[in-house]
Symmetry: C2
Amino acid sequence: MAVKSKKIFLDEKDIPRQWYNIQADLPEPLDPPYNVQAGRPATAEDFSAIFPPEIIKQELSAERFIDIPDEVIDAYKIWRPSPLVRATNLEKFLDTPAKIYFKNEGVSPSGSHKSNSAIAQAYYNKKAGVKRLATETGAGQWGSALSMACQMFGLECVVYMVKVSYEQKPYRKSLMQVYGAQVFASPSNQTEVGRKVLAENPNSEGSLGIAISEAIEDVVTHKDAKYSLGSVLNHVAMHQTVIGLEAKKQLEIAGDYPDIVIACLGGGSNFSGTAFPFLYDKLSGKVKNLKAIAVEPSACPKLSKGVLAYDYGDSSGFTPALKMYTLGHTFMPGGIHAGGLRYHGASPLVSALVKHNLVDPVTVRQKEVFEAAVTFARTEGILPAPESAHAIRVAITEALKAKEEGKSKTILFNLSGHGHFDLSAYDNYLSGKMQDYDYPSELVCESLKHLPKTK
Amino acid sequence: MAVKSKKIFLDEKDIPRQWYNIQADLPEPLDPPYNVQAGRPATAEDFSAIFPPEIIKQELSAERFIDIPDEVIDAYKIWRPSPLVRATNLEKFLDTPAKIYFKNEGVSPSGSHKSNSAIAQAYYNKKAGVKRLATETGAGQWGSALSMACQMFGLECVVYMVKVSYEQKPYRKSLMQVYGAQVFASPSNQTEVGRKVLAENPNSEGSLGIAISEAIEDVVTHKDAKYSLGSVLNHVAMHQTVIGLEAKKQLEIAGDYPDIVIACLGGGSNFSGTAFPFLYDKLSGKVKNLKAIAVEPSACPKLSKGVLAYDYGDSSGFTPALKMYTLGHTFMPGGIHAGGLRYHGASPLVSALVKHNLVDPVTVRQKEVFEAAVTFARTEGILPAPESAHAIRVAITEALKAKEEGKSKTILFNLSGHGHFDLSAYDNYLSGKMQDYDYPSELVCESLKHLPKTK
């Protein structure tokens, strides 16, 4: 069949009206979050200091479809529905019989899929009378998305940005400031936690753990303030399902259905959003042979090499513990450029699906990822984020496998973001200085000793 | 009428099949380019050393519509048709009865409208057996666009990038390298011209004039090499008309027609591409009251304050002279962040239209431009390039005027590019350190003494 159209657009009226909540269809219910301090499962009350009621309800809900409020859909209209693109030039370059489609989430104003949940979270907080949202950010994609979302709904936004990123990625900080957010290099002198760290070590480069503690202290010490998280949790994964729900409609227009769905995995929100709507077809028996691949970096392979256990969401142990594949919350991955994938654990939902063999984890190494990224930029024109390039790497591998086998597979991957703020990483690759990082088994063994105790 | 859709997309089959050549409809024919050295009007032969035949033909053609080759349309499909967006959030923020639409050319892979001509030029050069294209770039939008276009058509691309930009905007350079281009900081040791400058001053920061000379020497000293220019010339302006042609179709779908069309003007390609298809309606008597506004920075107001005269296209006087509004080719504008607008002259086509009062020039100052840029980012989400923000500034001013007058005007502007590589400029604005630049009348008077002599 001839390619009719390279890009498949939907109308704004085709923006999904409901998110898909895969909790309704899991082979067995999730283990609940655990309050380690209290020695019991966490309750809705445990979350009420940091999240508004509607978010907590979604986090714990087993309802299959949850309505998207009109105000959220209106905000989505700035960039949604995002295009589904047939990677015709890449296919030609690879000389593969496979059909490669990608969903382009890089068209969002903040540059990545993160806006899908940021908009929803800002809306629910606004509705609950919250005036101020605090969060932490590492590489800055989440911070940018939340800054923009808060601006749209008239909320103050405070971002604690890990100091080493604040200094190395000053433009991500600038983008958040353009969107009206206050951005503090963490450790900051805004909080007790920050001041204490600075007193001990004025040159501290910070960590995501410290930044989370600062954000949570900010919430507790300010009136009408709440906290916002960009991945891992169930409600965040659910908000992202607009990606896969749109992609399904677009593939239907193309007269296609994927054999393989691919997305990279950091905390899990991008993978969830892309794959869950297709996994729904598998869980409900509608399709049989769907392969869902979660791509992780060799430097941080929690799904492939971690253990399924209760662990903290942050490196300092402030959050409730979640049942997830983890490398241990004290594990520090090597300095790969895909900062969004340097997280020790995987979303409890994705973890449960991996346990039941419904999701296949695959690890890839940094240099082969950037090789794929450059090939993609040179054929399809778009510069991918290093995170998204992990998915491109596996899409290319699968397309070449199809060529070898002489089979016409249909491959879908999510281009979760653009790489306009990541060109120093490309420089590092093109100059031949890029390192690969192997699985650091010794470090993992050490960090797994620090898993929290549950009863 | 209720807003039906925020964004208006066209199908790929609606990509224009012909460019519009306004040379067919000018009130009087253009004065020809002038070969100053030979003391006579320039001929097609004068251009044949640096341009392929099809480009020269287009440059001198008076045919109204020129077919777009299928191969160019196929490459356009990577991002075209670009969306037309109703700036509903900005309208609400301004509380204006005006309807504000913008065409978003920032969705191109290189980040700006420049790709529209880069693709066409790479195609015609490839077709003519050219193996290598050389060009110069200042801020880097044109260099990025040509690098990507050359990659698509299998041409070598060599970019001489003004050294001060090469050092201050390293990521634009990196993007060109990802697209496979060779990028040299100019003055370079690749050419006689460059070596001579370096011998005299090893710390030279370079200039666009030097970079053009290096690119032209590169062409002359390499086999099967040609030169490529990103603005000013007639064929470049014509390639850009896909912008306005698409916008007309999209406004028709919205049931609208602009009272005011606005675009920023550096060399003139962006303004031409946006406005010419609408000016066609005016020139053919189809509409009467269309206002076409070319926005220039107060630091470089060639249309508002320059003279209409023959002048060189480059600061060193290597090119044929063109009849255009100019501030003098030796004029050095103040260091505004909108690097793409720091050019001494305006395209001969736009200049002719200004002479006949068919285009209204407006000048704006840097700080009010960035104020508009931030307002736009905070309402519509998209971070604009500083160049494009000049158009936003005037669109906002016109919308507020409509509010004052209680009139419902329809305003269209072109968002020529995104600002992801311009965040240091935003930093400069947000930190309160930004300067305004006034019209430097003394410098202009001085530079106007150096206009070339014609018979």
